[in-house]
Symmetry: C2
Subunit: 110 residues, 2 copies
């Protein structure tokens, strides 16, 4: 499991198009620009609690989307397979059958 | 652009987890099991029009998810790249640099 902030950054990256504009604003200020809850509250002229609740709900939604679509999990599996293939090729230490096997595993991820 | 039924089958495959149980039932009877609107209406004891409206709304939702997440489009691009790599390897007609280039293109799709 990734560290929470890193995980939220990834989930936000994959699923931000499914969020509302307000959810996107709060999440991007909080997770990408490292604003505090109080700073976001000042910026939008709402209570710190309102910002906190909105962000908690959005985090839960992102985890729910990931449970349903597994985009982050598949991305990580794909990234690992591609890194293996790259390393074999970069080092000249590959066999055609190992590459073919990795391609089949990549196909099966979809 | 794929033929409509094929496209809906793919979109349903990618996004079915985001639909309600009723939407999933109607879509799967209509698109996978080839039931008519009338047969689905009989099965669920609702009007043919109600089934039609539900399916049309679901189709629009699936297209909206695809506009936002591009899972089918990326799947098609990935499939094409993997097929190219496979063909090069199967025919023994590959170069390390061509394979490395395809891997970078696969990484950039995510």
């Amino acid at each position: 499991m990734l560290e929470k902030t890193t995980r939220m950054n990834y989930l936000y990256d994959f699923y931000q198009s499914l969020l509302t504009p307000k959810q996107r604003s709060y999440m991007s200020l909080y997770y990408l620009d490292d604003y505090s809850l109080g700073e976001i509250a000042d910026e939008y002229d709402v209570s710190r609690q309102a910002v906190y609740d909105n962000i908690k709900r959005t985090e839960a939604m992102l985890e729910e989307y990931e449970n349903k679509l597994l985009l982050l999990q598949k991305f990580q599996e794909r990234t690992a397979l591609l890194a293996q293939m790259k390393e074999m090729l970069d080092k000249g230490n590959y066999s055609v059958s190992a590459l073919q096997k990795a391609i089949i595993e990549l196909e099966e991820l979809d």
